[in-house]
């Protein structure tokens, strides 16, 4: 601590003025790294040879001054101050062999790298913006010509289209009025009709699936439709009192049996 005070006292008048000027501009900085970069310039050395310890002291002095002047510093400036204080202590104290983690030198080197990189990017940005630029130094064609789009349509037809077209014409005599092509739909009416004819023989419990109409068992779409219709028709027949229906558990087979005596309406 005594070391610090001593250093501050030895600051030249010019340095002190510069430091004060910095504080007044605090809003002009883009965060602590930007401020550190500005501070590092006061060292008047190549960024690669910068003394991070000295920079940390400069920064901490800056924060102290800001406090004395009752300037509100954003939280990230204070976080950086805390970190630099920690870095300073690591740089000054002999390394503790029991402690792991990066050494003060490593941390300092990384900070120096960050500053050098930021400065390099700023220089690169300046070089980039100083280049000859389109619309300022060199120019694109002023009278661009419209490219007209020509649309070319090709027609396609397959042999199948052709044959189907011909087939359509040749079957015109056999023309049928429009009916919905619902080949894969087995209606409940159809199922009812079929079941009525069959239930007379259902003395024993039989799986409902055995009632599916022939030719409807394989195709999944047809099978689904026939199953649904047969099930709905069975329910209808149960309601009418012609059938009994049971299922032992969820997803177990559904079984049907003929009901001989009329159903008790009250049950």
């Amino acid at each position: 601590m005594a070391d610090d005070t001593f250093e501050e006292d030895t600051m030249s008048v010019a340095d002190r003025l510069a430091a004060e000027a910095l504080i007044i501009d605090v809003d002009g900085y883009e965060g602590p790294l930007d401020l550190l970069l500005t501070l590092s310039r006061t060292q008047k050395v190549d960024l690669r040879k910068i003394s991070v310890l000295q920079l940390a002291r400069q920064y901490l002095a800056f924060v102290e001054k800001a406090k004395a002047l009752r300037l509100e510093l954003a939280a990230d400036y204070l976080v950086m101050a805390a970190w630099l204080a920690f870095l300073k202590s690591r740089l000054l104290l002999p390394p503790d062999p029991a402690e792991d983690g990066p050494s003060g030198e490593e941390l300092a080197a990384h900070l120096a790298f960050q500053l050098e990189r930021l400065q390099a990017m700023r220089d690169a940005a300046a070089k980039l913006m100083a280049r000859d630029r389109l619309g300022r130094d060199f120019f694109a064609r002023g009278q661009s010509e419209m490219v007209t789009r020509v649309r070319k349509v090709t027609y396609s037809a397959t042999l199948l289209d052709l044959m189907q077209g011909y087939a359509r014409i040749r079957t015109r005599d056999e023309f049928r009025p429009f009916i919905m092509d619902r080949d894969a739909v087995f209606t409940m009416e159809q199922a009812l009709e079929r079941m009525r004819g069959l239930i007379g023989y259902a003395g024993e419990w039989t799986d409902i699936l055995s009632y599916l109409p022939e030719g409807w068992e394989m195709d999944p779409g047809k099978r689904r439709s026939a199953t649904a219709a047969t099930f709905a028709a069975s329910l209808e027949l149960v309601k009418e009192g012609h059938l009994e229906i049971r299922q032992s558990e969820n997803f177990a087979p559904i079984q049907l049996r003929k009901r001989d005596e009329p159903r008790d309406r009250t049950s």
Partner: protein
């Protein structure tokens, strides 16, 4: 002068409007002679892809007239042939040589001029010999490009009715009692097609 030529070249290139000699003069450094530079520049572009042209009393760089075709961009779009066109084409293929009246008789509806023109344009049909019947009507036949397009060696390779039936392309349905007017036919079948699509999903 070479430098002045460069200047005129750059200005002509970059300006949005044709530019007069007076205007060139006002934009170039004092003492330049754009009129002379234009003479050189014009010569330099002779026979090139772009030309230095005088438009009224102004100057501009323009595409050489013979390269105008480059300013078009072609986009190719493939479309399905209309049903009327397919049917007409099928009738011509199966019945060639066939007259327009015959096509209409087979289709049951009149054949629009556009349909025939389209098939002619596609070079899938052409005019055949005139028929030796009253009025000597013109006939249509299919072309070599038709055969090429549909992968046929000759028109006799087209499958016959029996084969179409065997292939399931012809469905035998009992003829219903009432026969609908042929005009409404198209509508109905189109609807039927729409419906099937709904159910096939």
């Amino acid at each position: 002068m070479a430098e002045q030529e460069r200047m005129v070249e750059a200005i002509l290139f970059a300006t949005a409007e044709p530019i007069t000699v007076r205007e060139l003069e006002s934009r170039m450094p004092h003492g330049c002679d754009p009129a002379e530079a234009l003479v050189y520049l014009r010569k330099r572009y002779e026979g090139r892809g772009v030309q230095v042209m005088k438009i009224g009393d102004a100057w501009a760089i323009r595409t050489a007239a013979d390269l105008g075709f480059l300013m078009q961009k072609e986009t190719v779009e493939t479309r399905k042939l209309s049903r009327a066109a397919i049917e007409t084409l099928a009738i011509i293929a199966y019945h060639q040589p066939v007259t327009r009246a015959e096509i209409e008789e087979i289709r049951g509806v009149s054949v629009s001029r556009g349909t025939v023109d389209q098939l002619l344009e596609l070079e899938w049909i052409r005019f055949g010999r005139r028929k030796m019947t009253p009025g000597r009507p013109v006939t249509f036949v299919v072309t070599q490009s038709f055969l090429d397009h549909f992968g046929l060696e000759n028109a006799r390779d087209l499958p016959g009715l029996k084969e179409l039936r065997a292939a399931g392309l012809l469905e035998n349905r009992p003829a219903p009692g009432l026969s609908l007017g042929s005009e409404s036919e198209d509508e109905d079948e189109e609807e039927a097609e729409g419906q099937t699509e709904l159910f096939e999903d």
